[in-house]
């Protein structure tokens, strides 16, 4: 514990450097603005800012991108509450009661509780990350190729199980992503696979064009034809203060949402989205007056907002401790760190203590910055929403093109982004979840390498996975999840997800 405290002090000495502080602040502001814009969620925001971090030192780069991530989560809640437009997917549940509160003239308290809940959850998440990541990292030092193979496969099954939609469809998208990850030069044999003679594909397909295409471009394709946005309310500072009763009713949901969100955040998948749905479902179930939900219950804002922010932090645990992304956002952040020659994984905390602890400490700072930003400056930020969408979406498209192009100065990347945008648009129309594609793309080469190494180690026997206790445990967990997910498909019955508020997403 004392060692953790000393390490945290080291982190604060890094985080309080004026330059780091300035970039954390800039990241939070950019993120808040990005989160408020429909079509530009945290993923697109981070992807587009990635080229700008190439010239920065790795600590500043990750602090800036983490600030964008947090800021976007906060920003998304503002548009959800004031306009019923979720700036990003995790804010969908906030729309329900947040906008109802706005219609009831309680927009200010809704915004304040969302900000306070996010602040509390973010802090809980950072404490969890601080305590859990080093422990997990030292445990992961025991992992060899078979354990990594099992871990990656289990992660994909957990992702499929936790996904809001059909497990089969989610698995199909994960496999599709893994196949896209096979494009390029095979690291073990030197063969160039599925490149169709395009030289640029030799290095494989990058996460940034795929992520921006699937999430940013497809969103614009779906929404470009929409009408002008509705009028925006601008609550004054005085109107932001919640009543004592509203504070009392929010305390439990904030605490539960924070703990639940952090735990879900560690699990692979669109954790921040799922956590907000699950939190909303739980709060509705626990409430003595569930009929208030949907009509402006503050618990419906406090719980999901806390959960999605805690999940955002939880996702950093496997990213930093194991080097494994659990969401497209952390996949892009891993790419950002690797560009600087640093590999996230079990030895990161030992080899780069300034980076890890500086990052943890800067998240504390970022949470305070966002609390200060979100409340008094909300009136300023909402002016962005007054820009007609007819002007906004062409500018977002231009940002997407230039952002993706800048990553490796490649027109091929932009073409991939547009292709992925078109594919994402069609897949969303057909009810497919896109996050597994992006995740599969990143996990594909890792999974292939660890599987082939495992088979080489065992002389071609799959029995190696049954001889290693950690690998066996993970495979058993994966099988249990598969069986649980297939149960409602074979026997008619309600899926657990339907009981926690995901019924609209369950096929």
């Amino acid at each position: 514990m004392l060692e953790t405290f000393h390490s945290l002090m080291l982190g604060f000495s890094v985080a309080f450097q004026p330059e780091v502080l300035m970039y954390a602040f800039a990241g939070c502001i950019i993120g808040t603005l990005v989160g408020m814009m429909p079509g530009l969620g945290p993923l697109a925001g981070i992807s587009l800012l990635l080229p700008a971090t190439f010239g920065l030192n790795p600590i500043i780069a990750i602090v800036l991108l983490a600030g964008v991530y947090y800021g976007a989560m906060y920003g998304g809640s503002t548009t959800s509450i004031l306009m019923r437009i979720p700036g990003e997917a995790a804010s969908v549940m906030t729309c329900v009661d947040g906008y109802a509160m706005t219609q009831n003239g309680r927009a200010g308290p809704a915004l304040a509780i969302a900000a306070i809940g996010s602040f509390f959850a973010g802090t809980v998440g950072v404490v969890g990350l601080m305590l859990l990541a080093p422990t997990l990292a030292s445990f992961a030092l025991r992992f060899g190729p078979p354990e990594y193979t099992a871990l990656l496969l289990m992660g994909l099954f957990v992702l499929a199980y936790m996904s809001g939609g059909s497990m089969l469809k989610t698995l199909a998208m994960a496999v599709l992503g893994l196949l896209v990850g096979m494009i390029g030069i095979d690291a073990m044999s030197g063969y160039t696979r599925f490149s169709f003679g395009i030289v640029e594909l030799g290095d494989g397909v990058g996460i940034v064009p795929v992520a921006v295409g699937l999430f940013g471009i497809s969103e614009i394709l779906l929404t470009a034809g929409q009408a002008e946005p509705p009028k925006v309310q601008q609550p004054s500072l005085r109107q932001l203060i919640p009543s004592g009763e509203e504070f009392r009713r929010s305390a439990g949901p904030i605490l539960r949402g924070s703990l639940l969100g952090f735990m879900i955040g560690i699990i692979p998948g669109s954790a921040h989205i799922i956590s907000s749905f699950v939190s909303y479902g739980i709060e509705r179930r626990l409430s003595l007056h569930p009929e208030r939900f949907g009509k402006g219950a503050i618990e419906g804002v406090a719980g999901p907002e806390s959960a999605n922010n805690a999940a955002a932090t939880g996702a950093f645990v496997p990213m930093l401790a194991l080097g494994i992304p659990t969401s497209p956002v952390t996949a892009v952040m891993i790419a950002a760190i690797m560009i600087h020659g640093i590999s996230p994984g079990p030895v990161l905390i030992q080899e780069q203590p300034e980076l890890f602890w500086g990052f943890v400490a800067s998240m504390y700072v970022g949470n305070v910055v966002l609390l200060i930003l979100n409340l008094p400056m909300v009136g300023l930020f909402v002016n962005l929403l007054r820009i007609p969408y007819a002007y906004m979406y062409p500018c977002i498209l231009a940002f997407c093109i230039v952002g993706v192009y800048s990553v490796s100065n490649s027109v091929v990347d932009v073409v991939i982004m547009l292709l992925m945008g078109g594919v994402g648009y069609v897949l969303r129309k057909l009810g497919y979840d896109l996050a597994p594609v992006a995740l599969g793309l990143v996990l594909g080469p890792m999974l292939e390498l660890s599987l082939r190494q495992s088979l080489a180690m065992s002389g071609g026997s799959y029995g190696i996975f049954l001889e290693r206790p950690i690998a066996v445990t993970m495979f058993v967990l994966a099988l249990i999840l598969l069986a649980l997910a297939l149960k409602p498909l074979i026997f008619k019955g309600k899926d657990w997800r339907a009981n926690v508020g995901l019924e609209d997403q369950v096929d």
Binding site: P51, A52, G55, A89, G164, S166, L168, L171, A172, V175, L176, L179, M182, D186, M188, S189, Y191, R193, F194, E219, I220, L221, L222, A224, G225, A390, Y391, Y393, P394, C395, L397, A398, I401, V402, Y405, S406, N409, V411, V414, L418, G422, Y425, R428, K429, L430, G431, Y432, D433, L447, E448, L451, R452, L455, A456, G459, G460, S461, L489, Q505, D507
Partner: protein, 161 residues
């Protein structure tokens, strides 16, 4: 956001279901990947070759596609899915593709200005003054911020612009 598709579908009715069609497409894609994969040696279990994992994945994709098609009878009818924004979506993709082709030929500022003039002026039919201000302002200011302040190299045209 899968729910957006569901909101726009009309359940019930006869004819092909969306999951049946998408499942068959995934199966077809898996067969195509398997066919492409014949160029790469699969190797042995002790020494898996570059074609080994892609083959496993193609088999997995085909199997899942088949299951989606088989269990897809309860999904929304394919014809019930509305595509009201498809025309505009196609226009957006084509315009972005043209901009991409222009990017390295005429430079960032001009190609982005052309893109914005097309969308704001032609597609959205906004006033010419607003079109010029937004297109010109955005391309110049964004170039200044991205290339000059953030030092991210952006393509310049043959006229250095």
């Amino acid at each position: 956001m899968a729910e957006s598709a569901h909101q726009e579908t009309v359940h019930g009715g006869s004819g092909l279901k969306s999951d049946q069609v998408s499942g068959v497409i995934l199966l077809g894609l898996a067969l195509y990947i398997g066919w492409l994969n014949r160029e790469f040696p699969v190797g042995s279990l002790a020494e898996p070759g570059p074609g080994y994992v892609p083959l496993l994945l193609a088999i997995a994709l085909g199997s899942i596609g088949l299951l989606i098609a088989v269990f897809g009878g309860r999904s929304a009818p394919l014809l019930g899915i509305r595509w009201p924004e498809a025309g505009r979506a196609a226009a957006i993709l084509i315009a972005c593709a043209v901009t991409t082709l222009l990017l390295e030929r005429i430079g960032y500022r001009l190609s982005v200005a052309v893109l914005l003039v097309f969308f704001i002026g032609v597609v959205e039919r906004k006033k010419p003054l607003a079109v010029v201000l937004v297109a010109g302002g955005f391309s110049l200011v964004s170039f200044y911020v991205i290339a000059d302040l953030l030092h991210v190299p952006l393509p310049r045209g043959p006229w250095g612009f």
